[in-house]
């Protein structure tokens, strides 16, 4: 089917984007409004539109709490919450993700929605941080399997995996569903990744390499994720070959975590004056100590056992399934993605980047 025909089909559709004022949500709204301007978009979110995540003109926004009775239109796109969160919030997060997703699904079915897209995360697979995940694909088990088989360890993204499974199992002839699993994100409006890495310069933390510095990671520009959502919508209202499927979405250019950091620092004109390699086990111990100190003093630190494991983890996925079924290719390459993210962040904090 050609692009024109798809555009015509989408012109007659209504799309509801939950969480549409957030980082991924607003990027998706912008991408959809640009590619299919005739499509009617409604955004629901707990927060009103935010200045840092711009929305295009003519989008109707509603403040809705998805954990209460949701109001759902004809087709829904539901970005989940894929952030790391403290233990105290676990119950709350479970409520938003699992209960919220179930509410959205129920409402979508009740209102005769054709398609339902769930924004999951690659963490549904790469949850056990002790394992390494090189070149994984969609055949890999998710942590919902871990829950089913009664694993006793902490599964930080178990609720997301459960929510994802809910969505995929709900796929039917009436309402086709699919799930997208983006990797770590960067891009305009990123308040976590680039700011945290940039903050290392001021804290003199840049010379320290944790682990070998050879572990590869996927990072994705947020507008690529937005693209994948549009492709998924297009698929589910036409051929529906993506129905009931999950897809890893990333830039498909794995780089080492260390180099990602070095590239960001280099954009801000900083090159570590020397480098010290810290073995992973030692860093893990240091992370534990820092956690104890912060627990006692109630301050925050960059170093924790989790962040050490994160920095040393091998996590990248194979992008073939999304390429074959959705026709997804990263439009913004990782090099541009890093540059754009740094430029936007520098502008946000009022810093001039060296040229």
């Amino acid at each position: 089917m050609d692009a024109k025909a798809i555009d015509d089909i989408l012109a007659s559709k209504k799309v509801l984007i939950s969480g549409g004022t957030g980082f991924v949500g607003s990027a998706t709204v912008r991408a959809l409004a640009e590619k299919h301007p005739r499509c009617a978009i409604t955004v629901i979110d707990r927060s009103p539109p935010r200045s840092q995540h711009a929305l295009p003109e003519g989008i109707s926004c509603m403040q809705v709490d998805v954990t209460c009775m949701p109001e759902v239109s004809q087709a829904g796109i539901v970005p989940g919450l894929a952030d790391r969160f403290g233990r105290r919030l676990e119950k709350e997060v479970w409520r938003i993700n699992v209960v919220g997703t179930q509410n959205m699904l129920d409402a979508a079915m009740e209102n005769g929605a054709e398609a339902f897209i769930y924004t999951s995360t690659c963490c549904v697979v790469t949850d056990d941080m002790r394992s390494s995940y090189a070149n994984i694909d969609e055949r890999w088990p998710t942590s919902s399997n871990l829950l089913i088989y009664g694993e006793s360890k902490v599964i930080p993204h178990g609720c997301l995996a459960t929510a994802e499974a809910l969505v995929l199992n709900a796929s039917s002839d009436k309402m086709a569903t699919c799930a997208l699993r983006p990797s770590v994100l960067c891009g305009p409006g990123d308040y976590q990744l680039v700011p945290a890495i940039h903050a290392c310069i001021a804290k003199y933390e840049t010379p320290f390499i944790i682990g070998t510095g050879q572990n590869l990671w996927d990072v994705t520009h947020v507008s690529n994720i937005a693209d994948s959502h549009i492709l998924a919508v297009e698929n589910l209202v036409t051929s529906r070959t993506a129905a009931g499927e999950a897809f890893f979405i990333q830039n498909n250019e794995p780089i080492t975590f260390r180099d990602f950091c070095l590239a960001i620092w280099a954009h801000f004109g900083h090159i570590p004056p020397f480098e010290i390699q810290i073995p992973e086990s030692l860093a893990y111990l240091a992370g534990l100590l820092c956690e104890i100190v912060t627990w006692l003093t109630g301050t925050t630190t960059t170093l924790s056992r989790g962040s050490v494991r994160d920095a040393c983890a091998v996590r990248y996925a194979h992008g073939d399934k999304a390429r074959e079924i959705l026709g997804y290719e990263a439009r913004i390459g990782i090099e541009d993605a890093i540059r754009l993210s740094c430029e936007e962040y520098a502008h946000r904090i009022g810093v001039e980047l060296p040229t």
């Binding site: 070149n135 055949r139 694993e151 590869l216 250019e253 090159i271 090099e335």
Partner: protein, 486 residues
């Protein structure tokens, strides 16, 4: 290197020596040539092969018998063509028809060429070229056609290049021109060899459909040489580094060699290497299509040498000052690694990609691109030889064991049983020896009953006077026995 300096070198670098010995001792050629039945012309061809090529003659001679002579003749034909092209004493008017018509000489019995200047190092090959022609005509027609076709393309390519060089500026401008030049001097060889392999049934015919793959094989090798030989070529007034790349770093090509431009030269070097690394994936893909061990070795050895040379040259300022080479020991180790299978070769490639990655620095404007390229190589290797499989991960989630883990557990259990058995055996031996000794002591009259009684009543040491008496008695008996001896 003299014997003494060699001895000192290898004493200080024992691993290098070990690699050389390993290669010499353990390498079994897949096919061994039997020179006894060679005809005179065949002997002459192999003699020239040794004379004209140091690196290729060994691997060519280990090739499958079906391809041994065709590849040897192919090599000599191209070497002959090269000797005409390299000779600056031949004027263009004579040279051009020679290069363009070289393919036809292959069919003229007894053709040879004596027009080279005396100092041209492979002059003798052309003087006695009739031997090569005889062997060429003895080959299967299919092989003849392939060699003739490549000779035709390469001869014309060289002639075009000579005309251009005579006209104005011979230096390479764009990356496209650079690729084209490399294609003429090396990519075409890759094409010819691939066609020979497929014709002989020793390689997957799909390799011919994907021409990009065999092109990359040649380009990667040629680009490696061009990068490594920058100083030598500069001294000979040849420039193969494309202007499109060096002009990003310096204004004039000569500036690359000025000490004050050290950092700029290094950045230019890494951009050249980045450009060459783009072929690595294709090369590994190509090698996966080779079916026969000797053909695999023939293709894999130069590729392994090339990636190692890339690593050696990467951000190494020495290349602008002198000619650098990988050591003989490293070369032997690489040959051991590249004459087994693709997986071992891939490990070698990954290892060198990581080494390159480690030398990469954010000071370099191409830092991120190089990092991405190294990541891409690693991801590609992971795709052909996954370190973990989804099926295994599924089993792990269910708490079941993969075949490998089950085997390991079984082995562990076996080892454990072995250890228990050994401990039991040793215990039995200790008990037996102790029992025998005590039995002998009892037989000689030791009073264990008294000892037991003393022990149970809490006397663990002999009473002092008893101990003294026993000592005196022992001394007395000893002196008595000595006296008896005397």
């Amino acid at each position: 290197m003299g014997f003494v300096s060699k001895a000192i070198y290898f004493t200080l670098h024992p691993i290098q020596l070990r690699s050389i010995i390993q290669w010499k001792v353990w390498h079994n050629p897949p096919h061994e040539r039997n020179p006894k039945n060679d005809t005179e012309t065949q002997k002459a061809c192999f003699k020239f092969l040794d004379l004209t090529s140091r690196s290729f003659s060994a691997v060519i001679k280990e090739l499958h018998p079906e391809l041994l002579l065709p590849v040897c003749v192919f090599y000599l034909v191209l070497r002959g063509l090269d000797t005409i092209e390299d000779d600056t004493s031949i004027d263009l008017k004579t040279k051009e028809p020679l290069l363009r018509g070289f393919k036809d000489f292959l069919e003229q019995d007894g053709w040879n060429f004596t027009g080279n200047r005396p100092e041209e190092k492979d002059r003798e090959l052309l003087v006695q070229f009739q031997n090569v022609i005889t062997e060429f005509k003895n080959m299967k027609p299919a092989y003849q056609a392939i060699i003739k076709d490549i000779t035709d393309k390469m001869g014309n390519g060289m002639a075009d290049y000579c005309i251009k060089a005579a006209g104005d500026d011979a230096s390479v401008k764009t990356i496209e021109e650079y690729d084209l030049y490399c294609h003429y001097v090396a990519g075409l060889v890759g094409e010819g060899l691939t066609r020979l392999f497929v014709e002989a049934g020793l390689a997957n015919p799909a390799l011919l459909k994907r021409s990009r793959l065999h092109k990359s094989m040649g380009l990667f090798l040629q680009k490696t040489n061009i990068i490594r030989d920058i100083r030598e070529d500069f001294d000979d007034e040849r420039r193969f580094w494309p202007q499109e790349i060096w002009s990003k770093h310096v204004d004039n090509f000569e500036d690359l060699f000025k000490p004050e431009n050290r950092e700029l030269a290094l950045n230019c070097n890494s951009e050249m290497i980045l450009n060459a690394l783009e072929h690595v994936e294709d090369c590994l893909f190509y090698l996966a299509g080779l079916k026969e061990q000797s053909v695999f070795n023939f293709c894999a050895i130069p590729q392994a040498m090339a990636i190692a040379t890339m690593e050696l040259c990467f951000r190494n300022y020495n290349i602008f000052e002198r000619n650098i080479k990988i050591t003989k020991g490293d070369a032997c180790e690489l040959m051991v690694q590249s004459t087994q299978n693709l997986q071992i070769l891939c490990n070698t490639f990954r290892q060198f990609a990581r080494k390159i990655h480690k030398k990469n620095t954010p000071k370099d404007p191409n830092f991120l691109k190089i990092s991405i390229e190294c990541g891409r190589i690693e991801k590609f290797i992971e795709t052909i030889f996954p370190s973990q499989k989804a099926a295994d991960a599924q089993l792990q989630v269910k708490g079941e064991l993969t075949a490998e883990q089950a085997k390991k557990r079984e082995e562990d259990a076996e080892n454990k049983a072995d250890i228990y058995f050994m401990m039991l055996l040793m215990g039995a031996v200790v008990l037996f020896v102790a029992g025998t000794m005590m039995g002998v002591a009892w037989w000689f009259g030791a009073r264990f009953d008294l000892a037991w009684k003393e022990l149970t009543s809490g006397n663990f040491r002999p009473p002092p006077q008893v101990a003294a008496k026993a000592a005196a008695k022992a001394a007395a008996s000893a002196s008595a026995s000595i006296r008896n001896e005397l």
